[in-house]
């Protein structure tokens, strides 16, 4: 038989048994679509986390007070439990390494902010001039902290968008004096950036010079030291240098943890990738279920068509031809089902992207290829048995209605 005839014969018989064809298409379609959708979600989540971390800055080394018990990122380090203070002098010492391009000591605390009669609790972040570029932040208006000696306090502040809106409303904030605790700070800049950074919403922070923050928050210790290195390759050197330096300065005790954003990112990436594979695998099980359905329906199809198969034999179809016809019917069905599944899955992930624009929910290529492959394989595998049964039918009894 020529391929076009095999195709049209299969097509005709699929059309001839509409109900069962639709049922099987539906099963195939749903399972392929769910593979695509679930992996799209997983992949979207992975990308989302990646992007979030990328927005933190590049080649970032973070020094955290407190030694982590495990090699990875422990709870203690994340919470910043402090056994010994990390100071501005420590930060200054770290700056000496040639691969360090930017460094920003960081202090953090909550105080009450007020302007005229409006008040609210804000997160105060004490830092230096370099923080802006180090974190890839942008200003909406004014300027950032002045480039000055770290020890020099000055009564200026840069505020987040939300703070501006809530305390100043429609009035111009630039140049106004904002009260933080007991002191007053002149607003010199307004942040444009959005999103979260080390757990704080950038729109809701007030940034002041680090030494001002030390006296405002009444603590000499730093919350973090952020270091930007020259290149990815120099990160490890800087990490070693940081550990060594701090150890020396802290009388031989290695009481800080140095992490890279990559390490954190890698952990998340691994978790989310595993999750994606996991849900993809679970969805693939539904493909196998669809395969079993295909087997059942093909068995029914074969027994429904016993006389037809007998006739084909009488007209000169060999066993191999019967096998070929039944298998190509199953293959056609799987392909059509997979195609519909692709359409449904792609439309679904498009829907997810509409609903959750921050999640780039595109099904990964491997999931598309794998689901197509699994669909075809299950379609063929599970129709082998019915096809073999059809091929083996005895022509004479098949023609008599098959027993």
């Amino acid at each position: 038989m020529i391929p076009a005839d095999v195709f049209s014969y299969s097509w005709q018989s699929l059309k001839g048994y509409r109900a069962r064809t639709l049922l099987m298409l539906l099963a195939m379609c749903i399972s392929v679509a769910s593979v695509l959708l679930l992996t799209a979600l997983g992949e979207g989540a992975r990308r989302y986390v990646n992007n979030e971390f990328a927005s933190l800055g590049t080649n970032l080394v973070i020094v955290i007070p407190g030694r982590s018990e495990t090699a990875g990122v422990g709870l203690n380090t994340m919470m910043g439990v402090t056994p010994r203070d990390l100071t501005l002098d420590d930060a200054r010492a770290l700056r000496r390494h040639h691969a360090v391009t930017r460094i920003a000591p960081l202090n953090i605390g909550a105080v009450e902010a007020s302007w005229q009669n409006r008040k609210r609790e804000v997160t105060v972040m004490g830092s230096t001039h370099e923080l802006l570029d180090l974190r890839h932040w942008k200003l909406a208006a004014g300027q950032f902290l002045p480039q000055a000696d770290w020890d020099r306090s000055s009564p200026v502040c840069v505020i987040g968008k939300k703070i501006r809106d809530e305390l100043f409303g429609a009035q111009a904030a630039l140049g106004q004096w904002l009260r933080l605790g007991e002191n007053r700070y002149r607003v010199i800049g307004i942040m444009a950036s959005e999103g979260r950074s080390i757990g704080v919403d950038v729109q809701e922070i007030v940034i002041i010079p680090v030494s001002s923050a030390q006296s405002l928050l009444n603590t000499p210790s730093l919350f973090r030291i952020l270091i930007e290195t020259k290149s990815r390759e120099s990160m490890q050197k800087v990490i070693d240098f940081a550990l060594d330096t701090i150890k020396q300065r802290h009388y031989g005790e290695e009481d800080v943890t140095v992490i890279t954003q990559d390490a954190v990112l890698q952990t998340f990436d691994n978790i989310l990738a595993a999750l994606t594979y996991g849900v993809g695998g679970i969805a693939a099980i539904s493909l196998a279920v669809a395969g079993i359905l295909i087997m059942n329906v093909m068995l029914v199809a074969v027994s429904q068509r016993t006389t037809e198969i007998g006739l084909l034999k009488a007209l000169g179809a060999s066993r191999r031809k019967i096998l070929l016809l039944i298998l190509s019917e199953a293959l056609l069905l799987s392909l059509l089902g997979a195609m519909l599944g692709f359409i449904l899955g792609l439309a679904g992930s498009w829907g997810i992207r509409l609903a959750l624009p921050e999640l780039e929910a595109y099904p990964p290529l491997w999931a598309m290829l794998a689901s197509l492959l699994v669909a075809i394989m299950t379609g063929l595998l599970f129709s082998l048995m019915p096809a073999a049964r059809a091929a083996k039918l005895d022509a004479v009894s098949a023609l008599q209605g098959g027993h």
Binding site: G316, A317, S318, R319
Partner: protein, 229 residues
Amino acid sequence: MIKLEQIHRDFQVGDQTVHALDDINLEITQGEYLSVMGPSGSGKSTLLNLIGMLDHATSGIYTLNGQNVTQMDEHQEAETRNRHIGFVFQAFHLIPRLTAAENIELPLVLAGMSPAERYQRVEQALKAMNLIERAHHKPDQLSGGQRQRVAIARATITEPAVLLADEPTGNLDQKSGQDVIDTLETLNKKGITLIVVTHDHHLGDRSHRSLKMVDGRIVSDRSHVQAET
């Protein structure tokens, strides 16, 4: 061209053995018109199926066109059936989802013939069977006689040497039955070897040679003078 020697065909039913064919010896030459008669269960269909290679002898030798059929493999058998043998059944056995033309075309499709060539042959067959207007009708839109003519067209589309018809008029009324017989006889006049199983004595008389079977044996084998000229 057809030669059966000491053919036996046994069926095992429970612990009993049914001798559906019991020592059949038969020789049929090219172009013969043979009728097979006999009571129900006497082995007529079994004989026809065996000649058509749908069934296999338990023992004995079957030679078709000088070839020992008993030794053919499944693939060769299928090909021989496709090329050299045409079947017509009492129940028509048309595929309901295919049109008359598509049903007729089926053996050529199985043989892998190109669509252009097929088209020509099918057109001719439709014309010969007087089915041109019915070419694109599905079987359920055809009368019984038309269905059987479609089946005959299908059986002869590969221009086989032998046409086997098992009670071809069994499901038809008198008139369309006569139509079908005329069609078969016309084909026989053009050279095809025609073997018809029938209960119809009238038809038996029209054939050139008639077999009578009882209990799996051929009890009479008569050749007549041509019934008509």
